[in-house]
């Protein structure tokens, strides 16, 4: 409590300069330098400029009266505690003050020690309330997060099940349309009426199947069996390779893409999955960014994790959508462009890697998606000795 008292921000509102001087002198001995105001309006001005923990407020002042000032303080700064100084033996003023939200009241003339005790109590109450508020906010936040991730997991299971069931009939449509297409190419059917229309229609079926297939395969994770698990790669090189894959698309749209990180030593990491994640994030960033924009991929290492950030200068995501972007089929793109599955699948891949994905966004300024994934260091022998690269850290030549 003693060192916390040093941080007590106190405001003294009283028209009697002599009284203020006595109190200020006493407070300075405690290491506290109170703000001072001679009337209610002055006190409110100070409060509007900086946060204050406790206000000592005289009731009888020229101008705005103490009770009105108190009401205004509690309205604008509900977490600030106020101690009222009332006229001698005037319990009516005190009562009115308590009703208006004062912490307590003391009648003048006040005993300075007594007042100091009250100030400490008010400060303590504020600290306790603050801690409770933060705790309940934290618990609410955690509960929301858990509910969201459970919901996503359930949706994921359902979506994969549906995708699987759809794939079988889709395969029948695919082969039937393909067979029709083959038949229409036969010389015997060259002069059949409406042949061109039929060829066109069969083509449309094939395109539709391909579109549906993109969705079902994405939902199933679409991971090929030949994708290796862990690989020893340099994170900076992995990012550069991935950027090379999307650079053409970005440059067509007049968007600059770059990596911002020092050269890094090789680590063991799930390279294929990570590449897939980065591509998904980069494709999203390119879609969200206008001509002349910029996309930067950053890498940071620490605590056995690598953090990859993809920051764009695009249109940003409105707050009400931030919670929903990881849901399947949520998309801000027109139908046919973007399946609404990119971030849903990305999040599932990141989950499988034991990583986390977070988003920060400001409408009109851009979005930063950050993926943190665990990694293992390479050959420990090679990582020792002077000048050896530190695992996941900057490589020293």
């Amino acid at each position: 409590m003693a060192d916390r008292l040093n941080s007590l921000r106190l405001l003294l509102v009283d028209d009697e300069a002599a009284f203020r001087a006595v109190l200020v002198k006493r407070m300075r001995r405690q290491g506290i330098d109170p703000f001072q105001a001679a009337d209610g309006a002055g006190g409110l001005r100070i409060l509007s400029r900086q946060p204050v923990d406790v206000v000592v407020l005289d009731v009888r002042m020229p101008g705005m009266d103490g009770i009105d000032t108190l009401r205004e303080i509690k309205r604008r700064h509900p977490h600030t505690e106020v101690i009222l100084l009332t006229g001698h033996a005037n319990t009516r003023e005190g009562l009115e003050g308590i009703q208006a939200g004062a912490f307590d009241y003391l009648s003048k003339p006040v005993d300075i020690d007594h007042l100091w005790e009250k100030i400490k109590q008010a400060f303590e109450k504020k600290a306790v309330l603050e801690a409770l508020r933060q705790d309940s906010q934290y618990r609410l936040h955690m509960a929301q997060q858990m509910a969201a991730s459970e919901r996503l997991a359930a949706l994921g299971t359902l979506a994969a099940g549906v995708a699987h069931e759809i794939n079988n009939p889709l395969a029948i449509i695919n082969e039937a349309a393909g067979y029709l297409g083959t038949l229409l190419q036969k010389p015997e059917l060259e002069d059949v009426p409406y042949r061109e229309g039929m060829v066109n229609a069969v083509g449309k079926i094939a395109t539709g199947v391909a579109r549906a297939r993109t969705i079902t395969h994405q939902l199933l994770g679409g991971v090929r069996p030949d994708s290796p698990g862990l690989a020893r790669v340099r994170p900076d090189e992995l990012v550069d390779e991935t950027l090379a894959l999307v650079r053409a698309e970005a440059e067509d749209k007049g968007i600059a893409v770059a990596r911002q990180s020092p050269p890094m030593a090789a680590v063991w990491i799930e390279a294929d999955r990570l590449r897939q994640v980065l591509i998904n994030l980069l494709v999203n960033a390119i879609h969200a960014t206008q001509r002349g924009g910029r996309i930067v991929v950053g890498i940071e290492a620490g605590d056995g994790r690598l953090r990859f950030s993809v920051a764009d200068s695009g249109k940003g995501i409105p707050g009400e959508n931030l919670e929903r972007i990881f849901e399947p089929f949520f998309s801000d793109q027109p139908p046919g462009e973007g399946t609404g599955l990119g971030l849903f699948v990305t999040r599932q891949i990141v989950d499988r890697m034991g990583g986390t994905i977070t988003v920060r966004s400001q409408v009109g300024r851009g979005t930063t998606m950050t993926v943190a994934v665990p990694h293992r260091c390479g050959d420990p022998g090679a990582a020792r000795g002077p000048g050896a690269p530190v695992c996941g850290q900057e490589a020293r030549p």
Partner: protein, 126 residues
């Protein structure tokens, strides 16, 4: 078609799928046989010469993985291409470990499938 036809056995409990894909493959000049269960597949293999089995993993009764295991035991020279509507890497990896040649997710791209068959034909010719 000048190349020798590949003798394919197509196995899936989805009859419409088997019918359509076999017609397509036959149009390319391949020799296609069909079966609708793992048991029927093994029965055909015991009396017919087959180059490659295209095998669905999820089937009622004997599933594709068990069928694959028995094919590899009884007819080690018969190649197997797995086909499934399910995207689990684990099943696919298990299949490849058991000796499957490749793995396609339904609906498979016909060009991908025939490209795989072409490669098989070339290795068989060599």
């Amino acid at each position: 078609m000048s190349a020798l036809p590949i003798r394919i056995l197509l196995v899936d409990d989805e009859r419409d799928f088997v019918e359509m894909l076999s017609l397509r493959l036959a149009e390319r000049g391949e020799h296609v046989m069909t079966a609708f269960s793992g048991r029927e597949c093994l029965e055909i293999l015991s009396r017919e010469a087959v180059d490659v089995v295209i095998l669905d993993i999820r089937m009622p009764g004997m599933d594709g993985i068990e069928t694959l295991r028995r094919i590899k035991q009884a007819h080690p020279r018969v190649e197997v291409i797995l086909l499934t509507g399910h995207g689990t890497t684990q099943t696919a990896m298990e299949g490849v470990r058991l000796g499957a040649l490749d793995y396609f997710l339904k609906p498979a791209d016909f060009e991908d499938l025939t490209a795989r068959l072409e490669r098989l034909r070339r290795t068989a010719d060599a």
